[in-house]
Amino acid sequence: MTRILFSDKLDNCVAKWRSAGLTVIGPVQGESLSSYATVEKGTDLHLGLVLPDRSLKELFFPQTEPMLSYTIKKNEIETADFTPPSAPRIIFGARPCDASGLAIDDPLFGWDYKDEYWFQRRNESVIVTIACTKADDFCLCTSLKLAPDSTKGSDVLLRSLDKNRGWLVEELTDRGREAFAIISEYLQEGSEPALPTVEVPEKFNLDTCVTWLQNPENFDSKFWKEISMRCIGCASCTYLCPTCHCFDIQDEGDTYSGIRRKNWDSCSFALFTMHTSGHNPRSTQSARWRQRIMHKFNYFPGKFSVNSCSGCGRCSRQCPVDMGITETLQEISKL
């Protein structure tokens, strides 16, 4: 027997989670942008979005984050660490691609150095994902061997019932079970069929692409220049990406006091690889775009055995010149 969460109980659940000390976060359509944001009521959630404009990544890896403050005095230097405040939270209505993105980045943030900012937030967050029943032209999870109902990175997976009546509940982890134990009074036992997940057509053969990328001869292929000729070198693809994780560390302040911050950075920028000497090993936009693709589908899987792309499609959806991972891998699979 499966348990069902009916939509009309969502307000009660949000209230219950909040009274248990959890911040409730979910997809919200703002006036001009949608994102994952804190809500006070279940009715504030916009669960009908294909996916929010902004990814879930930024709740774990904010675009700017203070790391420490420093004050230099006559005989001493005082520093104070910033660590993220303890804030247990539940993210209700994540999309499978966004939840997968977090799982993809876990090994990266825990590899040679355990990033305490990332893991504190990971450990304090319950991810409740809703399987997708609709997609748009840019969704490509199936091309990445994921699916509209992938459980990767999720603590609970919900499958929608028809007419927005509610969801079948699949608890996947202890963290998910604990969170749903809090609202167990609002769950009903039942065995209704869920709506089928959306069919997301496969846009390219990933294995073919990876084989091509792994061939060292193709590193210098003229393909890279052709495909990226119109790339204008902004960072919107990397900043909206649920898995891109590069950052820069900057001191803001003066000689005597300031704050050291961790800010998003992007391989799309020339400055990203600029040496002090003025030499830039990735001096052209085509070299930078090649790096992004190689990193996601060759270097990252080489190190962590997983592709650094969860198929959300934001890179293509938002690109000012209509580029993106989809087009590039489609073209590679034709080579």
């Binding site: 675009q63 204008i232 902004c234 800010n263 998003w264 000012p320 010149v321 209509d322 087009e327």
Partner: protein, 276 residues
Amino acid sequence: MITQEKYRTTVKELLANGTIKMAIGYRPGSTSDRRRPLFIRTSEEADQLVLDSTCITNLSGYLVTEGLLSDEKQVGIFLRPEGIRSINILAAEYQLNVDQIIIFGFDSTGREVRALQGQTTGDFSALLSEIRENPPLTTKEPLLERIEKMNAKERFDFWQQEFSRCIKCYACRQACPMCYCRRCIVDSNQPQWVNTSSHTLGNFEWNVVRAFHLSGRCVQCGNCDRACPVNIPLRLINQRMANEVVDGFDHFAGLSPTQEPVLASFKKDDTETFIL
């Protein structure tokens, strides 16, 4: 369709007889309402050319791609009137030689697209003067009028709210034909003039610096506004500054390739006692 076919033929002819080495235009995008920049070097590539009312992007920024014009060969480019103004400004700022540019001008009303007569920037001077006298309706946007009515505090709050979404991806800069600096001030880190952080101060610094830098140079093509992945209405800032420059200096940017840049020129008989 007729305009598109005519232009395909023209481009093929000019490529075949060696007049141009490349034409920059549009091709179909990943969905039916999207267009992509297209670089035409062969007759087959010319067949991909699309010209319709959805060809919006101002392509002139591609002309200052490093090395493109250094061989002194000619390049063709599809431009709306505001794109032609961009070319004039780039020429006035010594970024390109207009003699190397063959303009394939077009404009659209509703879904109808029509060719503009001419090939060099000079051919369009009457058209640009006409636009100066009768600016398109976009200069009177309701939201802009609403902002104009705000007091300083309300306006500050409005922009603070809008800029709070800024992720500093610099898509506005990269999409802008006027942002051709080899090294933008935000990329200068010794010293770090502008904070890289996307906190309130950092976002204000970036967006306000950019607004001032574009004053008297922006042609309201809307590239920045459309490129912004977090939908900040950037066009409004630049539109406001453009209006200001027209009112204060009687300067409508991009009228000709020899027009003096309004904020980068100096006159001995300037009546102002203070020069910023």
